[in-house]
C-alpha cells in the first residue's frame, strides 16, 4: 500500500500539466451522449443524440454517424451478436428498442445477471461520429427494462443573470460565476464548457470563468448527468466587454 500512496501523491502533484483545458470548447469532440429515455421497458425505444463541439468552439446537437455493439473487452461480458438487432436507424436518427421479456432473459444470462431478477440490464453502445475529419468514439449505456427520465436543467446563469437566449454581456476583467441547477433522480454531476476565457471548478454546479478578453463572444454549455444514465444539456452565449 505504501507504493500506491507514493504514486497517488505523485500523481496529484504532477497532474497539473500544461494541457488543453477540458472546459475549452475549441476542440472537436463529443460532449455528451443522450438516450431519451435513458431506460426503456419492453415496447419502448430510446433515441440516441449527441452534443458535440468543433474546432471553432461551436456546440451543436446532432445524431451519431453509427451506433453499434461495442467490441468485447477483456474481463467484461459481451452482448450476444443478435442483440445488434435492438439498434435501429429511422430517418437518420438512431434508436435502441427494448426487447421482449424472453430476449431480456437471454440478455440477462449473457451478461451474467441473476435470471430471476427484474433489474434493468445495462446495454452498452458504441457511438461514433466524425468531427473535423476525425472519428470520435464514445461509450453509452442504455438500460433495458424499467423506466427513468433524463434530468432537467432548471436554471443556468452568469453572475446571477439567466442564460439561454441571446448574448449575455459580461465584463472582460474579473471572475464570473457560472451557476446551474437541475432536477432529476439520483446523484447529479455537472460539467461546464466555454468558448473563451478560463474555467475553474468546471465540474461543480458553480464554476468560475476568468481571463476573458474584450470582444470575445462564444458559447457556454452546461451538461448535467445523474448516476442512472440520464443526461441533459443547455446552451447559452456570452460576450465579454
Amino acid at each position: 500500500m505504501k507504493r500506491l500512496v507514493g504514486l497517488l501523491v505523485a500523481a496529484a502533484v504532477v497532474s497539473c500539466g500544461s494541457f488543453r483545458d477540458p472546459g475549452d470548447l475549441h476542440y472537436a469532440r463529443t460532449l455528451a451522449v443522450r438516450a431519451e429515455p435513458p431506460r426503456v421497458s419492453p415496447g419502448q425505444r430510446a433515441r440516441i443524440d449527441l452534443l458535440v463541439t468543433n474546432n471553432e468552439g461551436v456546440p451543436v446537437e446532432r445524431a451519431p454517424d453509427q451506433v453499434t455493439l461495442p467490441q468485447a473487452r477483456p474481463g467484461r461480458p459481451a452482448a450476444p451478436p443478435e442483440a445488434a438487432q435492438l439498434i435501429t436507424q429511422d430517418n437518420g436518427a438512431w434508436y435502441v428498442s427494448a426487447p421482449s421479456a424472453e430476449v431480456l432473459a437471454a440478455l440477462r444470462q449473457a451478461f451474467g445477471l441473476p435470471p430471476d431478477s427484474d433489474a434493468p440490464i445495462p446495454f452498452p453502445l458504441s457511438v461514433s461520429v466524425t468531427l473535423d475529419g476525425q472519428p470520435r468514439p464514445s461509450e453509452k449505456v442504455v438500460w433495458l427494462g424499467g423506466s427513468a427520465l433524463n434530468p432537467v436543467i432548471t436554471t443556468m446563469s452568469v453572475d446571477g443573470r439567466p442564460m439561454g437566449e441571446g448574448l449575455v454581456p459580461i465584463t472582460a476583467a474579473g471572475e464570473h460565476a457560472l451557476a446551474g441547477t437541475a432536477e432529476g433522480e439520483g446523484t447529479l454531476s455537472y460539467a461546464w464548457y466555454t468558448a473563451f476565457g478560463e474555467l475553474k471548478k468546471y465540474r461543480e454546479p458553480t464554476a468560475t470563468l476568468e481571463k476573458a478578453l474584450p470582444g470575445e463572444t462564444g458559447a457556454v454549455v452546461l451538461v448535467v448527468r445523474n448516476d442512472r444514465g440520464g443526461v441533459a444539456w443547455k446552451l447559452g452565449s456570452l460576450r465579454a466587454e
Binding site: 500500500m1 500506491l4 497532474s15 455528451a32 464514445s138 449505456v141 475553474k200
Partner: protein, 747 residues
C-alpha cells in the same frame, strides 16, 4: 564487524634517524575518523613508537631527510605516504588515515573464521568507499544501487520508494533485512535517504541471487544490513546538510568497556528549503511539509568470553499533508486534501554464542508500524500492524571439513485495516489507479499473518573446494501453503581465479500490497541459476563476471484487469510466468589514494501474464546499465577527496496510448493501449559529483561535503502523463539537479 582496515605508510628512501626535528602525528580510522590507539608507528629502518589513547604519536629527534614511516595495527592493511624533514623547522603533523573496509557488500556471512569467497554478482566495498559514492549523499543503502544487478529508479521519481529492483524482478521479490528481520520500508520519501544512517551500519550484504538456505521469502535478491555496535571509545558527531540534520553518539558503558552503546537521530530539513522552490501558482499548498525522522539506539554487552548480547531499537516517521485546488480532469476525485503518515518501530534483541565448533545466534523481535492516508474524496487507507518473531541460526562443525548450518524462524503479525482505496497498480499494468472510476478495495478488520521457516544445509570445505547442499521450508501458515526449497552451491579457487555456481528454488509469499486479503493466493516461485568468476588481474585490480538465469512460475497477476468490478472478490491468480537472464561485469581498482569501479549489467527480463498471451518486457527491464564510479584523495595530508559517478541506462519500458473512448455516462476518457511495454523512454544518463574536505583540530574534526546529483542538468523522462482525453502527452522527468551541502563535526 568486518573491518579490514588499511594502514597508512609513509614510503620513501630509507634514511637513518638522526638527531634533529620532532615529528608528530595522529593515526585515525579512515572509515570513522576516530583515533586508533595502540597502533605501531615506525620510521623504516629507525625508531618505533605506539599511538596513545588519542591516536597520537611523536618522534623526538628526526634528522633532516626523506623517510618511510609505517603505521600498523592488525588486521589493518598498509598504505604509504612520504615525510620530508627539513633542517630549519619541524614538519607539519602527520595524519595517517587507516582506510577501513567496513561496509561489505558481499555474500551472507559464512563461518566466522572462514570468510567466503565473493559470490557471483556480489562484491566487497570498503565503508570509506561506499560512503563516498557521488550522488548517494553518504548513504550506504543508496550507494548499493551503484552495484551490478540493480535497476536505476532514480530519486524523487514515482518508483523511487518502491524498493530495490534486482536482476529484473519486482521490488516485492526482494527483501531488506536489518539484523535478520525484514523492514517494511528501506527509504524515506523519494528515496532521498535510507532509514538507517551509515554510521549505524556495520556491513551490508547484497545478494542479487543464489543466496543460501538461511534466507528466504524472496524470489530475487536479499539486502541484509547488520547494524554496528558502539565503539569502546567515546565519540560522536553532529551533521547538517540540505537533506537532514543528525546526531550520533557512541561509547562505553561502565569502566570495564565490556558494554557499549550507540545512539543516533536524524530529522529531514527538506521542509525548510522546499517553500523556496515550490511553484507559486497557488493550486498546491502544504499544510504539513514533507518531513521525516529516524532514530536508532543499540546496546551491546560482552557477557562472557563467548557470549555477546545486544539490543537494538530503531524507528522512522514520514509525513506530509497538502491541499490541491486544481481540477484534475483525468481523475476528478484526486484533488482536495491529502494526508499521509508512515511510521514503524522495531526492537531486536539477540544472544550470540561463539565457540570453536559451534556458533549460535538467537534473536527476538517486536515491531509496530502504521500508515495513514486520508483524502477528502472518501478514499482512505488506515493500516496498523503489530508483529513479533523469533529466529535462531546455528552452525556446527561436525568434523573437519564437514559442518552444518541450521535454523528456524517464526513470525506473527496482526494487521488492523480500514481501507477504501483504489486497487494498487501491479507490474505490467499501464493504468494509474483512479480515485474516481476504479472500484475501490473496501475492507475493515484484523488479519493475522503467521509465517514459519526452517532450514539446514551441509557444508564441506577442503582445500580449494567448497560444496554446500541443503533445503529450506517456508510456510505461509495463514493460507496453508508449505514449500520446500532445495538449494546447492559450489565454489573453487584456482590460483588467482575463483569460480562459484549456485542453483536453487526461491519463493516469496503473497504479501505485497493487497495480496494478503486473498488467502487463495500461493507463493510465487523462482528457480535461480548463477555462475560467476573472479580474477585478480594485478594488485588492486579485480575483474568479476557473473551469468544468471531465473525461471519464474506462479506469478500473481490480475484475473482480468484492475478496473474490472466483477473480480473484486478474487482479483488475482497465480498464472504468470517469467524469465530473467543476463550477465554482470564488475571491474574494480583500489589504491592508497583512490577507488574506482565499472559496473555493467546486461539483462533481459520478460513476463507472460497468461499461457495464451505473448511474452512482454518486465516493467523495469533495463537492457544495459553502465555505472562508472571513481574517487581520489589528494592534498598533502589527504584532506581532500573528489569523485564522480556516471550512469547510462536503457530507458524504461512503457505502454503507448493509442487512442481513447469517451465514456458519456461517467464523463471521462478511457484510454486504449498498444502492446504492453512495447516502447521505451529515452536513454537515461546522469553525472554526479562529490567533494569532501576534512579539517583536523586538536580534539575534533570538521568535515564538509558537496554532493550533487545530475550535475549537468539532464532531467530524463521516466514516464508520461496525458491530457484528459489522451490526445496530448507530456514527459514526467527526473529531478534536474539535487545538490546537498553538508557539514559535520566529529570528536
Amino acid at each position: 564487524m568486518k573491518l579490514l582496515l588499511t594502514t597508512v605508510l609513509v614510503l620513501a628512501t630509507a634514511a637513518p634517524a638522526l638527531a634533529g626535528q620532532p615529528v608528530q602525528g595522529i593515526v585515525l580510522d579512515g572509515s570513522t575518523a576516530l583515533p586508533i590507539p595502540g597502533a605501531t608507528v615506525r620510521i623504516v629502518g629507525g625508531a618505533v613508537t605506539l599511538t596513545d589513547k588519542y591516536g597520537r604519536f611523536q618522534f623526538n629527534d628526526v634528522a633532516p631527510g626523506t623517510y618511510s614511516v609505517e603505521a600498523a595495527k592488525p588486521p589493518f592493511q598498509s598504505i604509504a605516504d612520504t615525510l620530508v624533514v627539513a633542517a630549519e623547522s619541524p614538519p607539519e603533523p602527520l595524519q595517517l588515515l587507516l582506510i577501513g573496509e567496513v561496509a561489505s557488500v558481499a555474500l551472507v556471512e559464512e563461518a566466522p573464521k572462514r570468510p567466503p569467497p565473493p559470490a557471483p554478482g556480489g562484491t566487497e566495498v570498503a565503508r570509506e568507499e561506499i560512503t563516498h559514492v557521488p550522488g548517494a549523499r553518504g548513504d550506504v543503502l543508496t550507494a548499493v544501487q551503484s552495484l551490478p544487478g540493480m535497476a536505476n529508479v532514480g530519486t524523487f521519481t514515482m518508483n523511487a520508494g518502491d524498493g530495490l529492483i534486482i536482476r529484473g524482478s519486482s521490488p516485492a521479490d526482494s527483501r531488506v533485512l536489518v539484523d535478520g528481520f525484514e523492514v517494511p520500508l528501506l527509504y524515506h520519501f523519494g528515496a532521498v535517504q535510507s532509514i538507517l544512517p551509515s554510521e549505524m551500519i556495520d556491513d551490508v550484504s547484497y545478494q542479487p541471487g543464489g543466496f543460501g538456505v538461511d534466507e528466504g521469502r524472496a524470489s530475487s535478491g536479499i539486502v541484509a544490513v547488520n547494524t554496528r555496535r558502539g565503539s569502546a571509545q567515546l565519540g560522536g558527531f553532529a551533521e547538517v546538510s540540505f537533506i537532514n540534520g543528525g546526531l550520533f553518539l557512541q561509547g562505553p558503558i561502565g569502566s570495564s568497556r565490556r558494554a557499549t552503546f550507540a545512539v543516533s537521530a536524524r530529522r529531514s530539513l527538506i521542509d525548510t528549503f522546499l517553500p523556496a522552490v515550490l511553484p507559486k501558482d497557488g493550486s498546491l499548498s502544504f499544510t504539513v511539509l514533507p518531513k521525516y525522522y529516524d532514530w536508532q539506539a543499540r546496546v551491546d554487552w560482552q557477557a562472557a568470553d563467548r557470549w555477546q548480547l545486544s539490543a537494538f531499537l530503531f524507528g522512522t516517521y514520514d509525513g506530509v499533508a497538502f491541499a490541491s485546488t486544481a481540477d484534475n480532469p483525468n481523475d476528478p476525485a484526486l484533488t482536495g486534501d491529502f494526508k499521509n503518515d508512515t511510521q514503524f518501530t522495531r526492537f531486536i534483541a539477540s544472544a550470540t554464542y561463539e565457540g570453536p565448533r559451534l556458533r549460535n545466534r538467537l534473536s527476538l523481535t517486536g515491531d509496530t508500524s502504521g500508515l495513514v492516508f486520508d483524502t477528502s474524496a472518501d478514499r482512505y487507507a488506515h493500516f496498523t500492524a503489530y508483529g513479533g518473531g523469533v529466529r535462531d541460526e546455528l552452525r556446527y562443525t561436525i568434523i573437519e571439513p564437514l559442518s552444518i548450518k541450521a535454523g528456524g524462524e517464526y513470525l506473527y503479525q496482526w494487521w488492523d485495516l480500514a481501507i477504501k482505496f483504489p486497487r494498487p497498480p501491479k507490474e505490467g499494468d499501464p493504468m494509474m489507479p483512479s480515485f474516481t472510476f476504479d472500484p475501490p478495495v473496501e475492507t475493515a478488520g484484523t488479519y493475522r499473518v503467521p509465517n514459519a521457516a526452517a532450514w539446514t544445509a551441509a557444508e564441506w570445505q577442503k582445500g580449494r573446494w567448497f560444496l554446500a547442499a541443503g533445503g529450506r521450508y517456508d510456510g505461509a501458515l495463514y493460507n496453508r501453503s508449505h514449500i520446500f526449497q532445495p538449494r546447492t552451491e559450489a565454489k573453487v579457487t584456482l590460483g588467482k581465479n575463483r569460480v562459484r555456481a549456485t542453483a536453487g528454488l526461491y519463493t516469496r509469499p503473497p504479501q505485497y500490497n493487497d495480496e494478503n486479503l486473498y488467502p487463495e493466493l500461493k507463493p510465487e516461485r523462482a528457480w535461480q541459476f548463477t555462475l560467476g568468476g573472479e580474477r585478480e588481474l594485478r594488485e588492486g585490480l579485480t575483474a568479476q563476471a557473473t551469468a544468471f538465469y531465473t525461471d519464474r512460475r506462479g506469478l500473481i497477476v490480475y484475473a482480468s484487469n484492475r478496473a474490472d468490478a466483477s473480480n473484486v472478490d478474487h482479483p488475482y491468480v497465480n498464472r504468470g510466468t517469467g524469465r530473467t537472464y543476463g550477465a554482470e561485469l564488475l571491474l574494480t581498482t583500489r589504491g592508497p589514494s583512490h577507488f574506482a569501479w565499472l559496473a555493467y549489467t546486461l539483462s533481459r527480463s520478460v513476463r507472460r501474464d497468461a499461457p495464451e498471451m505473448a511474452e512482454r518486457l518486465f516493467d523495469f527491464d533495463q537492457t544495459h546499465n553502465v555505472i562508472l564510479v571513481g574517487s581520489y584523495r589528494f592534498g598533502k595530508q589527504k584532506h581532500w577527496q573528489a569523485g564522480a559517478r556516471f550512469q547510462l541506462t536503457t530507458g524504461k519500458p512503457w505502454t503507448p496510448v493509442t487512442g481513447s473512448v469517451f465514456n458519456s455516462d461517467l464523463n471521462y476518457y478511457r484510454p486504449t493501449y498498444g502492446t504492453l511495454n512495447s516502447e521505451r523512454t529515452e536513454l537515461q544518463h546522469q553525472l554526479d559529483v562529490r567533494i569532501d574536505r576534512t579539517w583536523f583540530f586538536n580534539k575534533w574534526r570538521m568535515k564538509a561535503f558537496l554532493d550533487v546529483q545530475n550535475v549537468y542538468l539532464h532531467p530524463a523522462a521516466y514516464a508520461y502523463q496525458y491530457s484528459y482525453d489522451y490526445s496530448q502527452k507530456d514527459a514526467i522527468k527526473t529531478i534536474p539537479i539535487l545538490p546537498s551541502l553538508g557539514l559535520r563535526g566529529e570528536f
